[in-house]
Symmetry: C2
Subunit: 167 residues, 2 copies
């Protein structure tokens, strides 16, 4: 390892990769963009769970469920799973733990007894109302160094990716 800068070492690595692959061309711009999405998401999630959510015994997903219910009031399971971006099987388990914690409650829909609605309890409402502003301040810290236009641009670019990955 020489006195190369990090950037130069990465470029060396890219040249090396490309060389090993010969004819098959690699799009490094796409690679970095996508790889950074995952890295950023994992880092932000870990940070949030350690610093803010742990004291409330909440996972990232649990927090999202409370938040969605807070915004949209009571919801049916399937709709809630879609809104939280979770498989419905996953949601069942997480709603159950939130229910044990007394933060949400289920109710069968009388008109169609296959369906179940989920809603915040009073405790759940108190919790999310206290947590959300602090969570948002965390989001502000995570986007420190970005101005408003850049935050919007980041969100816009990510929406394009989300659509491309859309089910």
């Amino acid at each position: 390892m020489t006195d190369h800068t990090t950037d130069e070492r990465l470029l060396d690595a890219e040249r090396d990769i490309q060389a090993r692959l010969g004819d098959r061309p690699i799009d490094f711009e796409s690679m970095h963009a996508i790889a950074n999405i995952y890295r950023a998401a994992a880092a932000v999630r870990r940070h949030a769970e350690r610093d803010i959510l742990a004291e409330a015994n909440l996972s990232w997903g649990g927090f999202v469920i409370l938040w969605v219910l807070w915004v949209w009031d009571e919801m049916e399971t399937a709709q809630l799973a879609a809104e939280c971006d979770l498989a419905k099987g996953t949601l069942t388990g997480m709603v159950s733990t939130l229910e044990k914690q007394g933060l949400v409650q289920r109710a069968r829909v009388e008109a169609d007894r296959r369906r179940v609605t989920v809603a915040l309890t009073d405790d759940g409402e108190d919790l999310i109302e206290d947590l959300f502003p602090r969570f948002n301040q965390f989001e502000v810290r995570m986007s420190d160094g970005l101005d408003t236009a850049e935050k919007r641009e980041l969100a816009r670019l990510l929406r394009i990716v989300i659509n491309n990955a859309g089910d």
Copy 2:
């Protein structure tokens, strides 16, 4: 629900949220930016595991391990965990499953018998060499609709977030 567009409904929701919170101001730009990071990451990961990684019986994390080893050759466990952005306890398990699949192998460092290096086997090398170009094409599809400058910008903005969330 009226004939509002989706954008208008979201703005209504934001006004509603802000109203409920009263004095505590919310930064919605930060919120959307951070929320979209997580959403995009989850969507991309699911898509990749279903479409490309499943046939090789690899998880996202497993693929990343192979990829890092392919680029940087043999590595010590701690370094590998850092490079793959995984807790070292997590890495132990994942390396073990990759080892069972015959894709990597461990070796004790003779000079310091606490340390362990991990390296690709020939099978592992063949696999990643076949998989990576296809994975990169997947990344290209995921960033379809972004031009090169936008991909670079996306990666740059995410790097800022990653730094903010840095351990």
